[in-house]
Symmetry: C2
Subunit: 222 residues, 2 copies
C-alpha cells in the first residue's frame, strides 16, 4: 500500500495527510523521527526531511511541494490546487506563505522551540524566539482573517492546499495552546470550518507523550 513517512506533529506531514484524505487516496503511515537522521530514511530523502511518499509502484517522492504536485498530476480528480493558471498561482503563493514564511516566523519559534528541541534533547526553549513567535502570529492570523472575509476559502471559491497549509501550521500550534484565537474571530471561524472536515479528524487524535493539548484542540465546535 501507498505509504507516507511522516511525523505526526510536523506541519507539512499533516498537510500531506490532509491532501491524501481530501482526494480519497488510501495510505499507511510510518512515523519518522526525522531529527535522528536514520540511514535507511536518508536513502529515501538525502535531505532527511519528512514527509516522503512511497507509492505502491515503488515511486519515491520527497519534498512537500514535489509530493503535492505529483499527487495532483497523478490523481487529478478532486483538484486541490485550482483550475486556471491564475487560480493555481494564487494557491501556490499562499501555500508557500504558510509552508515557509509562517513556519519560519511562527512555528519554528514556538513549536520547534518548545517541543522539537525537547525531543532532540537540546534543552529548553530560547525565550527570545518564543517572544518573536508570539508576536509574529498576530499578523499572520490577521492575514488569514482578511482573506477569509473576502473569499470562501483562502485562495478562492474552493478548498485548496493553501487552506490545508495554513490549517496544518496552526494545528500544531493549537496542540500546545499557542494560538490566540479569541483575538482573531474571522481566522477562528475559518479554522473551525477546516477542522470539522472528515479529513482533519485523524489529526485531532494524534498524541505525543509528555504533551497534553488544551481541551478546545479536538473540539469541533471550538
Amino acid at each position: 500500500m501507498r505509504c507516507l513517512y511522516h511525523f505526526a506533529l510536523h506541519p507539512c506531514s499533516r498537510k500531506l495527510r490532509l491532501i491524501l484524505r481530501e482526494k480519497s487516496l488510501d495510505f499507511a503511515l510510518e512515523t519518522e523521527n526525522y531529527w535522528e537522521r536514520r540511514p535507511a530514511f536518508l536513502k529515501f530523502n538525502p535531505s532527511g526531511e519528512v514527509p516522503v511518499l512511497v507509492e505502491e509502484d515503488g515511486a519515491i517522492v520527497a519534498d512537500p511541494n514535489a509530493i503535492e504536485e505529483y499527487i495532483e498530476e497523478r490523481y487529478p480528480e478532486q483538484p486541490m490546487i485550482g483550475a486556471t493558471p491564475a487560480e493555481r498561482a494564487e494557491t501556490r503563493r499562499l501555500s508557500a506563505w504558510f509552508d515557509q514564511k509562517f513556519n519560519r516566523e511562527v512555528t519554528a519559534n514556538l513549536f520547534d522551540q518548545k517541543v522539537i528541541r525537547r525531543l532532540k534533547g537540546n534543552g529548553g526553549p530560547d525565550s527570545q524566539a518564543i517572544r518573536n513567535g508570539l508576536s509574529n502570529i498576530h499578523y499572520h492570523l490577521d492575514y488569514v482573517g482578511w482573506l477569509a472575509d473576502r473569499r470562501k476559502w483562502l485562495a478562492g471559491d474552493q478548498l485548496t492546499i493553501a487552506d490545508l497549509a495554513a490549517a496544518a501550521q496552526l494545528s500544531v500550534l493549537d496542540f500546545i495552546g499557542d494560538v490566540p484565537w479569541d483575538d482573531h474571530p474571522p481566522a477562528r471561524d475559518w479554522y473551525a470550518r477546516v477542522k470539522s472536515r472528515p479529513s482533519f479528524r485523524p489529526l485531532l487524535s494524534d498524541a505525543l507523550p509528555g504533551f497534553t493539548p488544551p481541551a478546545h484542540y479536538a473540539n469541533l465546535d471550538f
Copy 2:
C-alpha cells in the same frame, strides 16, 4: 511588456530570469530593493519578497515556485520541469533543495551576511554565520558533483529548473568569491556548462556598487 521585479544578486530572481530566457520569453526588469518594503511593491506581493512577475495582460504572480509553475503552464514549449510525473517530482525536489535548503545553510550565511546586511545598513557579518556557510557549502558541492557524475544534468537528461536553481545560488556566492571550486571539479565542470549558456550571459554583467567580483566570475572558460 512582461516585467520581472527583481534584485540582481538575489538567487531566486536570477533563477526566474534564467527560466524566462531559456523559454525565449521577452521581459523587462525592474530593480526592487526588497528590504525597503516599498508600499507600492507590497501591493504586488504582501510578503515583500522578490521576484514578482507582472504579465502583459495584468496578471501578477508572486513567489518563486508559483511563478515558475505558472510560466510552465502558460508557456509549455521548451519544458523546464520534466515530462513525466516522476521526472517532474525529481526536478521539484532538487529545485526546492537549492531554493530553500542551500539558501538557508549557505547563501544566507555568506551572501546575505556579507552583502545584504551592508545594503540594509545592519553592519558587518556575523563571524559564526560565515564559518557555518563556508563549512556547509562543501557537502552541497559534493552533492552537485555526485548528481552531475551520474546524470547529464542535475535532475536527468534535460536542463531543468533544478540546474537553474543551483546555478543561481552558486552564482551569487561566486560573485563574492566564496565558492571553493578547486576542491570540487565535477561541480565546477557542471557549473561551467550552465554558465556558458546564452541565458546566463546577462547575469554575468550585473554590477553592485562597492563590490567587485573575482576575475573568474564572468570567465566562461573559468
